[in-house]
Symmetry: C2
Subunit: 425 residues, 2 copies
């Protein structure tokens, strides 16, 4: 009965007619488990519904579906196992738990004949789990590109629109409730990588540990890069990408330059969006609220209805999700072989020979340069102040791009760390 | 075995592993019914699959699901009834049939314990039927705005981008296969109204005859209006709209000015898009290919899988679709009471008093004017040539807007018919 749980209780209690209509039966809210019985609640609950003991749920044979909306790994994991052993089907929004302990939880669910529904674990209100595992089931998904972390997108959008610093915008996001007191898992890309791992299981039959996904966050993003990107016709987004190639699946999370005017570039504030390409359906684009009480409660309640009706069971039986007894259908590609275009920004001292040394370093790794723009620090800055060199490359491998970065950072004329982002579209 | 049927056969035959994985069982293509056995086919079919007799399907007890992909009303209706009486579940893409004979077909399906799946009937590859009836089931849908006819959107986009005439673009669309030899039902709004009627049933529990939906098409659209709209910051789209108000459901189909930069305004070519607002989930936006062989086959095959697995049956039992024994949950609002902003274009003679007469007519119907722009025909045209007066109004009722139109067309200074479109965003 945290934020999302309260939203689910509202939908079940205030709109019981609606859920009954879609479920073909009345869904009764039997228990709501809280930590502190005395805390005031945002929803009026019938007597004998609120309890501070999970045992009241576990030992009640009338309870068949539990929306388990606890964050973190423990005690969430133990409680989920207990609930399934007590014969309850599970609905959860906990992507970290699934990403970390999915194999154990799904195997146990199958052994016990129970189901786990997890629509709310990725992209909040966008029903991407059902869309991939059911609506697009006639397709081989070829690629997925998503803005999956609303906090990061809010921060980047605000920096872009207001020219504000990273630190200022994080404070504003915390004030508005878009960012946690400690937003580390959001802004460092962990949250997006965990969601991408879940989608990669479902869409590609991959068996991937989220921590194996190459992952950069937007923490510490320099507003200068947003300005330089925009001059080149791009916005920077924290993009989670899965692409199926002949030799395996490419997965990555990182700040990415996305062409202005394309749908993903125009995703603002705390919205999420996902572009899926299927070999039959072509591109399908989804956009909606990625978090928040009621969008998440919408997904959780749809899962409760699906579980009560029996649809979840039918889907769960064929779900390619942590099927430990089956070999994965695809393997991950070696990150070094991934091909893409790159944006580099280098602080350099403005001396003769600098450009020659830098372009030489790119050439050594076989990277072809598409454009070089030199941004002065200001009109009246002395010539010994570093200037910012922005280099856009043609297609190159990640391995070559990393190798060039290392070489360039060692050049005497390069006065600070190199910024490197991927470029899409 | 027309275009879409061939696509479905391709998915079932060439990707049987995929459908088997998602269905948890092998789906066998037992029969493909064709009109002309001698016609060459785009897909290699096993011997004894092709037949020119529907009786081979009806009389085969091993056939449990039939994708009925015949257009038009008859013999499609009779065949569907025959198939259901023979114990087959139906998958169809025929929105005209559902819009016209849905009550009869759904009632009969329920009597016989059969199911009808129809994802492909609206918006082709966008799985909007499943999204509304399953994924967003915890919501009261508050509004739906859709570009549901790909042919119309292709024509309008091309006119907009190339400044071409309606007639030229229609010919081009026919050459490219985006428009039928007789595109009347696409361009006059009928097709969009039939799709909107289906969505209105599912999203609002409305019981609506498509022919009762106020409907205008884009046939005969004047390129001048695209230019004037663009100068005001809008694009013209054939928009299908459903909005739930306190006193009923508002439904309409017509060319509509949509603010440039909003997602619906940026939908190009033969794409479809739908913006749904749910009271819990907020706005969700879907974009994808609205027609074509493989996108439609993707939807049909997903329905075949859902039907084979049993999900369709579970959903069908609670579907608010032509439930003739239940009163509709909402009634349609009187079209005259609908409120919106309007774009008017009037060819007027350039004489003193003209503007006073026109603004007077608006005032008489209580319509407040937001802006008036006078577009000259050309710099060196004589002063007795008509000029084009573009009027944008504040909110007004449809009744008032229609009344003002009638009055204005009678004014001596107005030299031709008035163009009137709704404005969104």
């Amino acid at each position: 009965m945290g934020t999302v749980g309260t939203g689910v209780a509202k939908l079940l209690l205030d709109h019981g007619d609606r859920t009954a209509r879609h479920a073909g039966r009345t869904l009764w809210l039997k228990k709501a488990v809280v930590r502190d019985l005395s805390k005031p609640r945002d929803v009026e609950l019938p007597d004998d519904v609120v309890t501070d003991s999970i045992d009241d749920v576990i030992n009640d044979p009338e309870i068949t579906v539990v929306a388990q909306l606890i964050g973190g790994l423990e005690p969430a994991r133990s409680i989920m196992l207990q609930l399934m052993e007590a014969g309850k089907d599970i609905v959860t929004a906990n992507k970290a738990l699934l990403a970390q302990h999915g194999a154990e939880l799904f195997t146990r669910a199958r052994e016990l004949g129970r189901t786990i529904a997890f629509e709310a674990s990725v992209a909040g209100g966008i029903p991407i789990i059902t869309n991939i595992s059911q609506c697009l089931s006639a397709n081989q998904i070829q690629s997925l590109e998503g803005i999956l972390n609303g906090t990061s997108n809010f921060i980047v959008s605000q920096m872009d629109e207001k020219g504000a610093s990273y630190e200022d915008v994080v404070r504003e996001a915390q004030r508005l409730g878009y960012a946690e007191a400690d937003p580390a898992m959001d802004v460092d890309g962990t949250d997006a990588a965990q969601k991408l791992a879940i989608l990669a299981h479902l869409a590609f039959g991959a068996s991937v540990d989220w921590s194996d996904i190459p992952c950069d966050g937007i923490d510490g993003l320099d507003p200068a890069d947003l300005i330089y990107a925009s001059k080149l016709g791009y916005r920077i987004k924290l993009l989670a990408v899965a692409t199926l190639a002949e030799d395996g699946l490419e997965l990555s999370v990182g700040p990415t330059l996305v062409k202005i005017g394309t749908p993903l570039a125009e995703v603002r504030d705390a919205y999420n969006a996902i572009r899926v390409i299927g070999d039959a359906v072509g591109p399908v684009f989804y956009h909606g609220l990625g978090a928040g009480q009621m969008p998440t409660a919408s997904a959780v309640t749809a899962d409760i209805i699906d579980t009560a009706v029996g649809r979840t069971r039918l889907t769960f039986e064929t779900l390619e999700y942590f099927c430990v007894d089956q070999p994965p259908r695809v393997k991950l590609r070696d990150a070094d072989t991934l091909i893409g275009r790159y944006y580099f920004r280098l602080p350099v001292s403005n001396h003769p020979g600098t450009l020659a040394a830098i372009t030489g370093a790119f050439a050594e790794d076989g990277i072809s340069i598409a454009s070089v723009i030199q941004h002065e620090s200001g009109d009246d800055s002395p010539s010994d102040q570093p200037v910012q060199l922005v280099v856009m490359t043609h297609e190159a491998t990640e391995g070559a791009a990393r190798s060039a970065t290392t070489k360039i950072e060692k050049l005497a004329s390069v006065t600070g760390p190199v910024v490197r982002f991927r470029v899409k579209g």
